[in-house]
């Protein structure tokens, strides 16, 4: 059984479809922009994370020291260094798997797999430092430890780039938040118009003894329905647009460094977020506007 507020909410949309449509369009436009920013921001995030990962100091163990005792000694020596945040062990098998994963092409992965039998990789430690500025100094100190074959890190330019991308991502997140507020404002205003036209109805509802909650719930449901309807076009645009982009680029943009997420399940998450934002914006917008009319004079 559909409960009263939901039923009334749908009726409200049907009876005031002009208003509902204009509110939904306001949501649609903002959600399309939010969707683009979400996808952009997510990719920036994964890209930054992957660079950050490669920015860790990779400490390759000399093949003569690849025994648990020596490796423990090396680990302890690294941990003793000032500015070291964490030291993670990665076996040569792990390293080989990681190497395989660098290939997007399944066929290529299968072709490389047999090399694992005579694994050419070394055991390694990944060292995270507390501060990017220390990376160079710590690297040279680690290099001096006995049993360390090689030390590798991305270099200062990479560190600066990561910091810059992090800033861009934060600005992007703020932009998405600002857009959401704008959408709330837009839907609030259009719903306010809808409700304004029904102020008499609210007065009558009050006269027959309806509580604020009883009056508010259908309007809030109506707002949520409008928000959801407004999210449908952005969801469709995102799903088709992202598939098209992925197929056209084969998942690689600018360079091999920058990979697009595979459409599934990524796109379903984005669609879910858009639907949620639409409904939430509708909820908040209608709540705010109906509350204005429910304020008691006394």
């Amino acid at each position: 059984m559909i409960s009263r507020p939901i039923k009334e909410g749908f009726r409200g949309v049907g009876r005031h479809w002009g208003m509902a449509l204009s509110s939904a369009i306001a949501v649609t436009i903002t959600l399309v922009i939010i969707s683009i920013f979400l996808i952009f921001s997510w990719h920036l995030h994964t890209f930054t994370k992957s660079i950050e990962y490669s920015m860790k100091i990779a400490v390759l163990i000399d093949s003569e020291h690849e025994d648990p005792t020596s490796e423990q000694l090396i680990k302890k020596s690294i941990e003793k260094l000032e500015g070291v945040k964490s030291v993670t062990f990665s076996s040569k098998e792990d390293e080989f798997q990681y190497y395989l994963q660098q290939y997007d092409d399944k066929a290529m992965q299968e072709a490389m797999a047999p090399f694992g039998e005579d694994n050419p990789m070394s055991d390694a430690y990944y060292v995270e430092v507390e501060n990017g500025d220390l990376i160079q100094h710590i690297s040279s100190e680690i290099r001096a430890i006995e049993g360390v074959a090689d030390v590798d890190y991305g270099g200062q330019t990479t560190i600066d780039m990561v910091a810059a991308m992090e800033t861009i991502r934060r600005i992007g997140a703020m932009f998405v938040a600002a857009l959401s507020v704008l959408a709330i404002f837009l839907i609030q205003n259009t719903i306010k118009l809808t409700i304004g036209a029904r102020e008499d109805e609210i007065t009558i509802m009050r006269n027959v003894g309806a509580t604020n909650g009883f009056i508010r719930s259908p309007f809030v449901c109506e707002g949520m329905i409008i928000g959801f309807l407004g999210s449908l076009i952005p969801i469709a645009v995102t799903v088709y647009g992202y598939y098209a982009l992925y197929q056209r680029t084969q998942g690689v943009v600018f360079s091999n460094l920058f990979h697009l997420e595979t459409p599934l399940p990524f796109i379903t998450y984005i669609a879910g977020i858009l639907a949620f934002v639409g409904i939430a914006v509708g909820f908040i917008g209608s709540w705010l506007s109906v509350t204005k009319y429910l304020r008691w004079k006394r």
Binding site: R206, N207, N212, W296
Partner: protein, 230 residues
């Protein structure tokens, strides 16, 4: 049933609407409040239905001190009273049946009971056949009947009627009066009716309280009234 004791009302803009109003209405009584425009009739209604608070004095309806109610308690209080307005105040997008059932859904009455009660009151006001009609498809008299049906659906002990015949011709006004009298007799509902229709007051004689410039100038138990300036 209704008790106003030394009630004063002064609005924020400085208008003094009521001065030292004392009215006591017994259960089952039918009383008119009459007076010219600006005499304080509407203010009195607003005090009774909880929309306004008295500046001084107490307003008690069905034993509830209306003036001391918190804003959130007012809707609950209103379920004890029925109010009928001059402009009917029906929900335009709802049918006659829905307008009546709405008042019952508000008090969370069970669905089968809501339907039964709505049908019953539609019968009382003589609109059994109009359940599916929208307010704009009805005449003024019929719309007022719907409003009365809605007001009594909840079996209120008190019915406040604010100029219920104000928009109706004399014939229809008589019909509405007959209906209100029938409700008063059949259910023992206390009715307080505000009007400026002296013909009606003189024809259907009942206790009449006369307001002028916010003062009670007469409380006539026998009813009937001739303006002293005529």
């Amino acid at each position: 049933m209704i008790e106003c004791a030394h009630v004063y009302k002064k609005y924020k803009n400085g208008t003094n609407a009521l001065y030292d109003i004392n009215i006591s209405v017994e259960q089952g009584e039918f009383i008119y409040i009459i007076g010219p425009t600006g005499s304080g009739k509407s203010t009195l209604i607003r005090l009774l239905d909880g929309e306004e608070m008295p500046t001084k004095g107490t307003v008690k309806v069905v034993g509830i001190d209306v003036g001391s109610l918190r804003a959130s308690q007012v809707p609950i209080y209103r379920r004890n009273i029925g109010v009928v307005f001059q402009d009917y105040k029906l929900l335009p997008t709802k049918t006659v049946f829905e307008n009546i059932t709405y008042a019952l859904e508000v008090i969370r009455m069970k669905k089968p009971q809501v339907r039964a009660r709505a049908k019953e009151v539609m019968g009382v006001v003589g609109l059994s056949e109009k359940g599916n009609a929208f307010p704009h498809e009805l005449s003024g008299g019929q719309q007022q009947r719907v409003a009365i049906a809605r007001a009594i659906a909840n079996r209120p002990k008190v019915l406040i009627a604010d100029e219920p015949t104000g928009n109706l011709d004399p014939g229809k006004s008589d019909e509405i009066m007959d209906l209100l009298e029938r409700i008063n007799e059949r259910y023992g509902t206390t009715i307080l009716m505000v009007t400026h229709d002296l013909t009606l007051v003189n024809k259907h004689r009942k206790r009449t309280v006369v307001l002028e410039h916010g003062h009670i100038v007469a409380d006539l138990a026998e009813g009937g009234y001739v303006r002293h300036d005529q």
